[in-house]
Symmetry: C2
C-alpha cells in the first residue's frame, strides 16, 4: 500500500511555496540548502507521483521536466513568464471544446492537449523596457 513519508510531504510543501515551474534538480537543491537530507531520486519520484495524482502540473522545457503545484481536480492551462517563471493558472472552456472538435473532425479519438502561453509578465516587461 501507499505510505506517507516525510520526504513526500517535504516535496509537496516545497513545491507549494514556489510561484512558478521548477525542475526536480533545483527543488532538490533548495531542500538540501534548507537542511533536508532528501535524495535526488526521491524528489524525482515524488514529483512524478504528484503529477500522476493531479496535484502537480508538468511541462517540458529545454529538455527537462518542470513541475508546479496546482489546484487539484480542475483542468487548466498556464500563462508563464519566460523570464522569471511566474505562472498563472488559466481556464478556457472554449479551447477545450475547440480541441475536441478539431480532433473529431479529423477522425481522432481520445483527445488530449497541451496548451501553454508564454510571455513576459508585467514586471519583467517593465524591466525589459
Amino acid at each position: 500500500m501507499k505510505r506517507n513519508t516525510w520526504q513526500r510531504e517535504a516535496v509537496r510543501e516545497a513545491l507549494g511555496t514556489r510561484e512558478g515551474f521548477v525542475s526536480a534538480q533545483s527543488l532538490h537543491s533548495a531542500l538540501r540548502d534548507g537542511g533536508s537530507s532528501i535524495g535526488l531520486a526521491t524528489v524525482y519520484r515524488a514529483l512524478a507521483d504528484l503529477a500522476v495524482e493531479g496535484e502537480a502540473d508538468s511541462l517540458q522545457q529545454e529538455g527537462e521536466s518542470l513541475y508546479r503545484a496546482c489546484t487539484p481536480g480542475t483542468h487548466h492551462h498556464h500563462l508563464i513568464c519566460r523570464n522569471c517563471g511566474l505562472t498563472v493558472e488559466i481556464e478556457a472552456d472554449a479551447v477545450e471544446q475547440w480541441a475536441r472538435q478539431v480532433a473529431s473532425e479529423h477522425g481522432f479519438t481520445q483527445p488530449n492537449h497541451v496548451v501553454d502561453v508564454f510571455g513576459l509578465c508585467a514586471e519583467c516587461s517593465a524591466l525589459a523596457g
Copy 2:
C-alpha cells in the same frame, strides 16, 4: 556566409518524406540505412537550423525533441496520433486571438504559445477497438 551542403539537403528531404514527427536519431538511422554517410551531429545541427528557419516544427516528447517538415511562413499547430505519429497541421485563428487576449489580460507581453492536440487517428482508433 551560409553554405549549401548535400547533408543539409539530405536531412531536409528525409524529413519531407515522413508523415509525422521524427527524432534526430531515427532520422539519422534512416539516412544511414539509405546508404548515406551523414554524421549524427550534422543531423542534429541541420534539424535545429530548419526549425529556426521555420521549415520544420519541433516538439518535446518524453525527453526528446521531435521534428517535422512544415509549410513555411504559416503559423499553425498540430493534431498528432499518439500511436503512429500521423500528424495533421491545423490552423486556429480563434486560439491565436485567445492566447493574445489571455496574455494581455494578465499584463503579459510578447506572447508565444504551445498548442498541440494528441489523440488516436481514425486508423489507430479502429485497431485499438
